[in-house]
């Protein structure tokens, strides 16, 4: 995404506080996913491309406190497979093996006996993985649930995309990048009282005219 688009996202969404709202939306999605599947836990993991790690961004249920923010290498385990192949996977440990789903168990001690995982896909990009842990043991998995999992993953991917945009926009507002000053100007002008805002807008229009930019209708 270009800085210009980031800037538009920054201004359009009002930015301040929006990342928190989208994070709350992710939390709501995992809560609903957990409730619908009758599962013990559900989480959303985001891909950090710079470090090649998966990060727990939203967690509900078992491991809620300890998992949030936790990272592990993106290339391994079940979540790693889902990430790399962009394909959902449902797996149940029928033999109750303590080594099962080591990537989930790592650092938490919580070993699920069943795991559904779907990729969070936005356009061509993969943003992370949605996991639903420990569905009821006596419930056999069906293709209908696979579809439902996919629907949740699509919804989560949209929320994650919004969250990432808001975070990028926030970084711009905080002054990262040359365009930060423009975003701060827009934010400052919109916060002014009406009379001063009109004067501010006139100034901005003049500036835009001087720079040869078109300024709306």
């Amino acid at each position: 995404m270009t800085e210009e688009r980031d800037l538009r996202a920054a201004v359009a969404s009002g930015v301040v506080g929006s990342a928190e709202s989208f994070q709350a939306l992710l939390g709501a999605i995992v809560q609903v996913a957990r409730a619908i599947f009758g599962a013990k836990a559900s989480s959303i993991l985001l891909l950090d491309e710079e470090t090649d790690e998966l990060v727990f961004e939203a967690v509900v249920g078992e491991g809620e406190e300890s998992l949030l923010g936790m990272r592990f290498p993106a290339g391994h385990g079940i979540a790693g497979w889902v990430l790399a192949t962009r394909t959902p996977l449902v797996i149940e440990d029928v033999r109750k093996d303590p080594r099962f789903a080591a990537d989930v168990a790592e650092g938490t001690g919580y070993v699920p006996s069943g795991l559904m995982a779907a990729p969070l896909l936005h356009d061509e990009e993969i943003l992370g993985v949605l996991e639903v842990l420990d569905r009821p043991e006596n419930a056999r998995f069906s293709l209908q649930e696979m579809d439902l999992l996919g629907l949740f993953a699509n919804q989560a991917a949209i929320a994650v995309d919004l969250l990432l945009r808001a975070r990028r926009a926030e970084r711009i507002l905080e002054g990262e990048g040359d365009l930060g000053v423009v975003a701060r100007l827009a934010s400052a002008v919109s916060a002014l009282e009406e009379e001063r805002r009109e004067a501010g807008m006139r100034l901005l229009h003049d500036l835009a005219g001087t720079l040869g930019a078109r300024t709306g209708p």
Partner: protein, 279 residues
Amino acid sequence: MPEAVAHAGETLPAWSLPKGEVDRIALSMEWPERVTREWAWGGSQGEGVRVCILDSGVEGGHPLVGELESAVSITVGEGDETIVTEDELGDVSGHGTACAGIVRSLAPGCSLSSVRVLGQGFKGSGNILLAGLRHAVEEGYDLVNMSLSTTKKPFAAILHELADSAYFRRTVLVASAHNMPVESYPWKFSSVISVGSHEEPDPLTFFYNPSPPVEFFGRGVNVEVAWAGGRTVSVSGNSFATPHLTGICALILAKHPELTPFQLKNVLYLTASNVGRGE
């Protein structure tokens, strides 16, 4: 053989069929009036058919997998060159072992090889997938099980070319359809055998889909499979329907090694549970 000779001295393929040369393309086998499963793979164990599992690696020696013919790991170097090394890591997730075990359960006599394209981290995984597939095609495997796909459009054209080249070299790619409504490759190419899931418990039940792009449905729900660490787990997904079709293809190719990918697809069609009544 045709008279036409290329500049390099290689014999040209048969682009046309001159009068009087029909014998040249005589088929080496007669198909029965009604193709049955008994004709297609009765008595076959998949002997001698070389199957490649392009995935997360395979745990050789797992009781449900047995020994591997070979296991390599694919990495891409700084100059984009493909590096193929002996794979000593085995399976980094368990998924490849599951696929290998399913093929083995259907075609115990086949030869299994692993080409690991996962586990180097997420970065560059698309290039590694391409390089792995290219390696598998060059190795001339009879069947390549691809229980994975990529959504990256820039890779689509090269994957398409590779899939076509495999098709003409008689390497059959059996590829998982995506479980979610997204654009992904290579399963959407007509030169591969694309597979989705049905919910029936019988491993030899498979259906032809008259509304492609997914061409066949194999067993893919609540399948007990081999997993890394000598384990057994129950899994669901198109990933596991695909090796069921790969295994069935191995049975057919062992009995009828002369089949082209086109003919193999025909045999699958004629023996599908909703076409040949599964007989």
